[in-house]
Symmetry: C2
Subunit: 399 residues, 2 copies
């Protein structure tokens, strides 16, 4: 076989696309017997299997020729209408995307050039870093914590830089699990309005709150304040099923139109059957479903926190999430989460080291634990294994 020197054929853009180290690690987590806190995989016991089978049969019987045919790039009109009514926006401002990951890619395509400054939390969602990185931007970061991004640091960056947009996950951040309080959301919005800063709000976990109610999104606050500079992303992956790959973006029409044009070139449209199925599932008892989703994740989070409180040695810090799917952990300074990962895998438990979530580097002593996938018994057992792995790594004095 005459081989080609592929790497010499690739464009310069290809150099920016790299295998995520996490992806390689995740392969290890699929070994039988491993309790995985690594992937952010939604709880499979929540998947609407029977409802989906019934709804699909109905859709194919009644509207099979629509479900299986090419569809409009903007999305299936009745689903756009549902999302519009749900969020209180014009359906013409809604774009259905093939997962939120696609929305991130489209935002990169439309807003980022090589060298463009783009502002992220540190840490931030790895998929966003990956999607944006393909466009070769210059990453700026502000530290984020249990109550969201550091606004003083943000103000400081905005004095010096004019980022194309600020990408934020204000509710139940991935990976750091933070929740921005209302007052902080309002202050951030004021800063954005003052500077004319475009904010991309990723609200994938919007319904996964453990408290009494959902905080208003930046998007809602912005609309209330008459500011159109917030693009809103959310998904059905966490409340229905991620394998369907149906999510949405909301943006003013001029911006949406450009995103639609970009989407046309990347996959023509999101599968029509999947959009129709999501709509049917949403129409069937959504409030009860959301209650159940919240209860399941709340109980899993509690199981993990109880186990951590019991098993973790001194000097290890971790968040107490108010929603979402993750606990974020900081090991004592100088300890490496990647080294811990090797020990943990030997104990048959897995997590994601935090370093890759920092677009600007750092975070070597941090890690993300997902409680979403495992049942409570395995969560408890996994935390015990993690504690054993950690103790084998800690200097003697602190054991």
């Amino acid at each position: 076989m005459k081989s080609l020197a592929w790497s010499s054929l690739f464009g310069q853009g290809a150099e920016r696309i790299q295998a995520s180290t996490i992806r390689e690690l995740l392969k290890l987590t699929q070994r039988p017997g491993v309790i995985s806190f690594a992937g952010g995989l939604p709880a499979p016991e929540l998947f609407p299997k029977e409802e989906a089978a019934e709804a699909t049969a109905r859709i194919l019987k009644e509207k099979g020729e629509v479900a299986l045919q090419y569809g409009p790039t903007e999305g299936y009109a009745p689903l756009r209408a549902f999302v519009g009514a749900w969020l209180g926006v014009d359906p013409e401002e809604v774009l259905i995307t093939t997962g939120s990951q696609q929305a991130l890619d489209l935002l990169g395509k439309v807003f980022l050039d090589e060298g463009s400054p783009v502002l992220l939390e540190a840490p931030s969602y790895l998929g966003a870093i990956q999607a944006f990185r393909a466009y070769g931007p210059r990453f700026l970061t502000v530290p984020t914590e249990a109550e969201g991004p550091d606004l003083a640091a943000l103000e400081d960056v905005l004095k010096r830089e004019r980022p194309r947009f600020l990408y934020l996950i204000p509710s139940f951040q991935n990976p750091a699990s933070g929740l921005m309080p209302l007052s902080k959301r309002e202050r951030l919005l004021e800063m954005a309005m003052e500077k004319g800063l475009l904010v991309v709000e990723d609200d994938a976990y919007r319904e996964l709150y453990f408290g009494e109610k959902r905080l208003p999104s930046l998007f809602e606050l912005a609309r209330g304040a008459g500011y159109e500079g917030v693009i809103y992303l959310s998904s059905f992956s966490k409340i229905l099923a991620p394998g369907l790959r149906v999510a949405f973006a909301v943006a003013p029409k001029e911006a949406l139109q450009k995103l639609v044009q970009a989407k046309q070139g990347v996959d023509l449209h999101t599968p029509v059957l999947n959009q129709m199925l999501v709509l049917e599932l949403l129409k069937e008892g959504l409030p009860a479903r959301l209650e159940r989703v919240r209860r399941v994740y709340r109980e899993k989070a509690r199981a993990m926190l109880e186990a951590l409180d019991e098993a973790m040695p001194q000097g290890v810090r971790y968040t107490r999430p108010k929603g979402g799917m993750f606990v974020w952990m900081e090991l004592p300074e100088g300890l490496s989460a990647e080294a811990l990962f090797q020990r943990a895998i030997a104990e048959n438990v897995a997590f994601v080291p935090g370093g890759p979530f920092f677009a600007g580097g750092g975070g070597e002593n941090t890690l993300r634990l997902s409680y979403a996938t495992m049942d409570r018994e395995r969560i408890r057992e996994g935390v015990r294994r993690l504690a054993r792995a950690l103790e084998s790594l800690l200097p003697l004095g602190t054991r």
Copy 2:
């Protein structure tokens, strides 16, 4: 509402992303009563509605937790294995994509930089032009006709230029409906091997041949000749259903790995349920299904050609397709297909003007007719309407 000056926020890349004029035209074709030869929409009567409903119920019952969960970026392993066995390649060389459109975008992301030369047929598939254009390449073209690209012109271009790749649709080309004969495929391959030219072969219509058998693809010939420089794309859109958005790319592992990394950033993975459904549908009597698909399109093509032979005035040339979904038409020099479109819409019949299919401009007197979507009666009626529209446009003497 405080408006933003969106166009000043967009990146330079956004300027390359434009609404296709065709997209705007297609909106007109959806008026009730219009007989549309415009969109390349597969025949809805061929969609496996009942089989899909049964298969989905079975999948969700037996493997619902896999079907609805996140899946691997490379694709659902049993579907990759099926494609590998079908094409006689290693499943590790197969990437499942969200429609072939996504494969085109990924190729752009991996191989094209701003200003990179890329070589296409003129005319070529509009979706490929759109996908590649987003990366800002420099388009080179070679004329293509009923027997595929002009090899003398190709040789000439390759003397002067070193394109990142040559994008070709050797079988039942979209839009020009050409079929490259075997000897020409062999000669083209020799040229590619001599120059180390990467060829991207889009074989979306591979099974839609009207003759006795399928010609070997460039990919098969290249593998037979020990040359790995052909990346092969095909799709289940034309033989099962486009609305599922399941297609595949085949490439040597080093190239495939880079495409996988790129795909991870753009949509994580193709919906798992859709991949499992396609696999089930493929396992159920594929040969009989393909026979039926071929028969239906063959009969539709014949209906269109008979009607055209009867109704078209002198001076109008059109192809006699040996497969696929399209007839390509050339109006007498000086006549505009866009002007004809306006007359045609007034007669309630639609097609796609050919100009946008030429990446380098030209082709104003060409147009594409799809016989795929309409039944034979409407095909005949549509052609009669088209003839009336055309006659109203022709100079008196030629009527």
